[in-house]
Symmetry: D2
Subunit: 435 residues, 4 copies
């Protein structure tokens, strides 16, 4: 079993629980590796309500295993501190009252050391449970573990997003790491268009083919997708700068009404983290403040900015069905967290096929995040995992430079509100095929 992903797609009876334990340990270790460069002070900051302090993240993912596996299925489990259940419940309203999200930054106790003790305590219990699991509960335990591991991987990406946002507030512009793998930036080629014919597409996760997927990727269903064309790579920083120089942020005609209101209210003039220094555009990265690489995909733009660019360029964003139709046939490789760039980078474009569908930047689609036909929530509190957020958000696809490679799929549906910019979010153009 070479990765967490391999693990999570085989929940057969024959699989030993110990293999799951190894997957568990690998995912847990990856979280701690992400936090290794942090000072205790960094663990504490909540730079906006959407951001959680890193300390909270590492406690919360631990709580998930405690609340949904250890407490219900491990009779011998000893609770470390009963207060943690309240403090580290993120949003499961049917599982007690969550501590208010916007006040997570006020909790100095438990300390970072306490929280690592909590992790060790839960890890030990998980090890004991999976070493000698109660057979009658094993299928349900593994089903929840299969959700708990990608849950922690999602928080690994959130940790990187949040650490970036936290350090970027600081006038000192401190680097998170100074040993990131640099990009070899080739000259980016002109954008090409790929044409797809109209037809019925099967969209969503194919449960019969096995493998894990979130509830929101099901049910698999048919969609009629009219003929369309799609760009063979994402929009670059250089192209986005042309939009800026053409007055893109000052002309309401390109914008959705809510987007234009946001531009004015927030004073947006460039993507998040961009700052002009002596006439040169820089942006804050996890390696510090550097000049913008004009060949790399533009990142940290909202849906509103992606849509405005597309309108300005005479194009539009792809729907998620179009995107999935294209991505289905593309190898699942790319610039993921494993490449250790932690920043989107330019790639040599393959002729005649789409590049960078996976990795680099999450790609905003033109689709609102709503349930598929046949969608069913998970039973119990875990039913709150995805379904209740299906309002007011837009779908993004393909993963990014902060996503674990074994976490992503062609059917994976990420989602953020249209004004959100702190995810590694970019976009790719699409357009209707002329009759």
């Amino acid at each position: 079993m070479s990765s967490a992903h391999d693990a999570v797609i085989d929940r057969s009876d024959s699989l030993h629980a110990k293999e799951w334990l190894r997957a568990y340990q690998r995912v847990r270790a990856a979280t701690e590796a992400i936090c290794a460069p942090l000072h205790k002070e960094d663990y504490m900051v909540q730079s906006m309500a959407d951001v959680s302090p890193p300390k909270w993240h590492i406690a919360h993912v631990t709580w998930f295993f405690e609340a949904f596996i250890l407490k219900p299925f491990y009779a011998a489990y000893q609770i470390l501190d009963p207060a943690y259940d309240h403090l580290f419940n993120s949003y499961y309203e049917t599982h007690g009252v969550p501590f208010p999200r916007a006040e997570r930054g006020t909790l100095s106790r438990p300390t970072v050391d306490d929280v690592y003790r909590y992790r060790a305590h839960v890890d030990l219990a998980m090890q004991a449970l999976l070493t000698d699991p109660p057979q009658e509960h094993l299928p349900e335990i593994l089903r929840r573990l299969e959700l708990g591991l990608p849950h922690e991987q999602q928080h690994q990406e959130l940790l990187l997003m949040d650490i970036k946002h936290i350090l970027a507030q600081n006038p000192l512009c401190p680097a998170y790491r100074d040993d990131l793998v640099p990009a070899h930036a080739p000259e980016v080629k002109a954008l090409g268009w790929l044409a797809y014919r109209a037809g019925i597409q099967h969209i969503g996760h194919d449960a019969s083919a096995g493998g894990f997927a979130y509830d929101n990727e099901m049910g698999r269903h048919r969609q009629f997708v009219e003929a369309f064309e799609i760009a063979d790579r994402p929009v670059t920083n250089g192209e986005f700068l042309e939009f800026m120089q053409a007055g893109g942020y000052t002309k309401p005609e390109h914008w959705l009404a809510d987007g234009w209101a946001t531009v004015k209210a927030e004073g947006w003039q460039a993507p998040l983290y961009w700052v002009e220094r002596d006439g040169v555009w820089h942006h804050y990265t996890l390696g510090g403040l550097v000049p913008v690489d004009m060949s790399a995909p533009v990142c940290h733009v909202s849906f509103f900015e992606a849509d405005a660019y597309a309108q300005w360029a005479g194009a539009r964003l792809p729907t998620e069905a179009e995107w999935e139709t294209v991505a289905r046939d593309v190898p699942l490789t790319g610039n993921f967290v494993d490449q250790d760039h932690l920043q989107p980078v330019a790639t040599k474009r393959a002729e005649g096929m789409p590049s960078q569908m996976f990795g680099d930047v999450w790609e905003w689609t033109g689709s609102a995040y709503r349930p598929y036909p046949g969608f069913r929530k998970l039973p119990g509190s875990l039913g709150e995992y995805n379904g209740k957020f299906m309002s007011g958000q837009m779908v993004l696809r393909g993963g990014c430079c902060a996503t674990p490679a074994d976490h992503i799929r062609a059917t994976y549906r990420n989602f953020f509100p249209p004004q959100a910019r702190w995810a590694f979010s970019g976009f790719r153009l699409a357009r209707d095929t002329d009759a």
Copy 2:
């Protein structure tokens, strides 16, 4: 020509501009009839930012004809007051700077009499223009008139919504009118379900068949709609009361996360305008405060409430494609403004076919308001009419008791934010067909 609708679907060369003039006059007169019961004081109130003072509505619809027809195409037109262009532009950012929406209630001048003089001034000019139109501009004039008339009809419905909201704020609960047509409330039958097979559906306005439609109803395109079932009537007040009595407003498990946050922030405990008096639920209607008719469709609920009810009932809302598939074959009749109830009423259910698809209440669908494939904005400032609102809103279908009968179509897409409640909005259940 029996209605404005008849007029607007025939823009042939052979049509005399005078027939258009009669349609114009009919629509204009309908607006003034709606305002006839108002005091000057009622014309002034802006009870929330979304509501406009009635005076503003009647000036704004007049401005639309002035700005988009008279100024560009009627050389002899004399502007009454140049300041009106700023005051009565609603949201056309590419046509000057609109006066701030939330401050419309601060404008005591021009007075109501001034605004009626403005209406008369523009009506006179429109009459002159259409009596002797410049032939080279006639097609464009009629195209804009074809948009201007339904625009004014939309504001007729908004006037009734806003008047209701304005008077409902008043502790005196004044009736707008005391001569409304009462409902003959038959006993409502048990809800029935109608089944539809899976298949490709053609969705959106069929331009080749003629008739007017907004840009957002195009382009016509194919959608694959999986098998589904739909309720044969909307949910009633009585049914919604069961949800309330089952603790619907107090249980987060039924709600979307944004919905639950809204329930708590706003303190919602019942639909808008409902108030309990001596243990009996009353609601404010345009005829005053009356006991709730338990057989009539529930009204003034948000998308969030409709969705929560559906989740509680083990069902869901229909998509707009499902709704349109059903509505396409239903006669376009119902309880519209012409019936003069100005309130949804119970109807005798027809066996084996859906009732009340049109009229009574706008029906929330589960579809976010986004462009159809092939959508094109109108050129110029009129391009701001619909397209820029395609973010953060949900689609409603079918018209309501405040909609002019000749304004609605099976393809008509109305839209409001998911928390909005002051429209005459209700809903109908749908569900997946079991395999």
Copy 3:
């Protein structure tokens, strides 16, 4: 009896209640004269939370007589509408729940005509009561009438302040009246300083000398006032413009911390109602938009602006004890509402004595509004009249061009929050006497 003031200072047994009735009728008529130029639409606007719609003012002052005189003391009184007690109670929390202040603009009913009927109804009852008063209650009736008449006069000034604010929001800049008495603007002389010696001063209303005063002007008490100097006239528009031109609104060193925060939050760059047109400063007046008269006292400045000007000028504002010490010996004449300028005007300065202490502009003092030693609230709900506002406000003295001449006294204490600007508020400089 030549004025309301004369009336209110003689509450002797021998006075006929009919004389009081005439005073009542004179004050009531003055209110209606102020409203005569209004359209019904003007009566409806609440341009900010602090402003009340004129309709509300004229109903509220009527309610005062109904609630505090007619209901308790006139057994035959017939209530016109029981709902009015809730709608027109301003802030008397011990007299039922007042209708929310910020929502007064949402009440279209009762209409303006209804409210005038309410006035007539109460006036008739007051006439009946005072024509044949119940002897056992007469002293208390007259005591309350003595408060109710200046209460209505206060609202006369508020009406003018609020009407000005309402019409000033309108881009049409409509004039309230076009027949105001113009100012004969003499050349203003250089500012002179008048010196006062240190000593014990008796401050506050001298009850033994008779005459009406509000509770907040008592108890009369001793204050030791150190030697000081005071300017012989208020600061003029021309002088204030020098402060502006010296960058006064851009330099934090002149400002109180709360003042500077307000300047930045509100974007203040000039007094309220000032606007630059083609390089010339204009300001909105009740006669419309006119060039600023540089010789007239500056008006519509906040305490923060007055204090910042004083700091910039190396001076300070007088305390209210200093102001009263000076004013005590000055004739009670000036530019009041009776002069019908409705705007501060320049006056010829009298040599060696302070000018414009009364009228023109309310003068901000450096004193916070707090109770005098020996202050006693009135009994019952009327105790809420003044005392509960003694927090967070600053004292102003001397009346203004919108104050009835018979309403003002040397001991009169007006008060507003330090950021308020819609009163006719200006200021006069003071400074310590060098040792």
Copy 4:
């Protein structure tokens, strides 16, 4: 020289700078002793905008010496990090742009260790400077040191206030220390009243008598204080509980209008930090959550609550002149930080003289914080120290259980907004002497 206070009152030529150095080191060490029990995580929290993270406090007080002494007067001084000047400037707008106060909690860097290095760096430089001072600047250096030491002492008290607020947010209710000195709570005696005759009082710091005082305690001036009576001890928790049980928080008649609005907006039902557990009132203290000691002075009440209690009790708060008149003759002893209770405690009342005038709780007065006659701001940026806050705040007197004993004086004027509750603030009653 036995204390910082002794040091700061003797700025004679003969004093060796080394004695000042020892005072400096003693004050600096006291700050670090306060922080010794903290975890790094505690240093980071900003629990509300008014609270600063402890890390910020210890850096800011260091910055004060760097900015106002080392940079101007120590030529050899090497700046450790130029960015700190921006980060740790609190509010000196004339000394660059301060980092936004409400965002202090977002700064994880410099770390706690970095900040202690900064302290050591500055301490070393101060040692060098004071060991061999430039004679021509020595008077100004000492003048600024004389301000810098009480400045740091003020922040010592703020540290304790802020640490309490930070830890109190935490549902775990962690104790700051578990080794505080417990109170020996004697039975509190009935409240007694002390009478003072009317007369001229000299108020404010007597510069001729020597000793340090803040600018806001000058100029010394005369006030006429009418006869009054004052309580011989502060109001206790037990007495305040009677007010609560009498419905004090539910009756608007006791409250200032702003106070009542705050009660409703904030949902106040008890002093800050009070919580009912199983029918017993507890409160959070720096030693953890404990039952309220009914004999100790009530603490963590706002001016609004103090004033409401006084109105309910038929009394009032003393003015600051009254308070100072009384305090002038009382020994400067009490429950200060040096007693290590860190909580107000009951004391045996001395017969015939006021007790607890100093220490235990800051006592709200009825006086707004405004300048004395003859007040002069310090020159330069230090002029922002006190003067610019003289708006919207009320004066408190006497120091508290978190105040260093050598920091307080009878003339000392503390100030907070009327709604503030996180200071150790209580109150004492006063009343007018009946004629």
